[in-house]
């Protein structure tokens, strides 16, 4: 059976609905959602930009460009999702981007934050959604950060 392409175009309404639904499903991890969506009419694009601050002093910086067709169907065409830690030191955890044409994942040492080798090229199925990046960030926080301890007062 052929699997549905998870990156297939969607209606703008569905896209916004799913965006919000996925964030709601991760409310337990999100401290502050600073995402702003703007519509750029000349280029027929949406720009989705901002920082989502999460538990354990982690954050996800998001910048996406979404193409909008004349009948309001949308499709993400460029993105950079940067997961990081803001305290006690500012360091990278991961980054997924296709800003210069290639979809790739940058991997960083969980202790030092140094980038580990060259970025890994991603298959279409591996291109991430914002929600998957939040899940990855939460998994990192549980394994290496402070999300695995007491939940009281962390938020």
């Amino acid at each position: 059976m052929r699997r549905r392409d998870k990156h297939a175009p969607n209606t703008l309404e569905n896209y916004l609905m799913l965006h919000d639904k996925h964030l709601r499903e991760r409310e337990h991890f999100i401290v502050e959602n600073g995402i702003i969506i703007s519509r750029i009419s000349e280029a027929k694009r949406l720009r989705v930009v901002g920082v989502i601050r999460c538990l354990g002093n982690t954050f996800l910086k998001v910048d996406k460009t979404v193409a909008v067709s004349p009948d309001d169907w949308v499709e993400t065409i460029r993105y950079s999702y940067h997961g990081g830690l803001s305290f006690p030191d500012n360091r990278a955890i991961f980054r997924f981007d296709n800003a210069h044409g290639v979809h790739e994942q940058h991997v960083f040492d969980p202790v030092t934050g140094e980038e580990l080798g060259l970025p890994r090229e991603l298959t279409r199925e591996e291109w991430p959604h914002l929600s998957e990046c939040l899940d990855l960030l939460e998994a990192w926080c549980l394994q290496y950060g402070t999300c695995g301890g007491s939940r009281s007062g962390e938020k």
């Binding site: 703008l12 309404e13 916004l16 609905m17 919000d20 639904k21 709601r24 969506i37 703007s38 519509r39 750029i40 009419s41 000349e42 280029a43 027929k44 694009r45 949406l46 720009r47 910086k61 910048d63 460009t65 460029r78 950079s80 940067h82 980054r95 981007d97 800003a99 210069h100 044409g101 940058h106």
Partner: protein, 89 residues
Amino acid sequence: MSTATDIDSELRAKVAEQMRQLEAQRNDPVFQLELIYDLFRRIHAGEVEYGVPWQEAHAAVRSGKIQETHEVCVWLMDIALLDDMIAES
């Protein structure tokens, strides 16, 4: 306690409002001009910060002259958006 139906209708109302705002943005020339001005400003700030004209940004990242970070990716995406606007105009 909120039910699933409450959450669903709340979500639909929020998205309807978002759709209305995005449509208003699309038809607001002042908002659009501010977006374009901000885009130019950010692209120029990147040129100053990275020491490369915007037309050479991709080559500079590929050659390793500029180290790729999230901020550099955002700059490249700004440049790509400018290219999109030129192509559409």
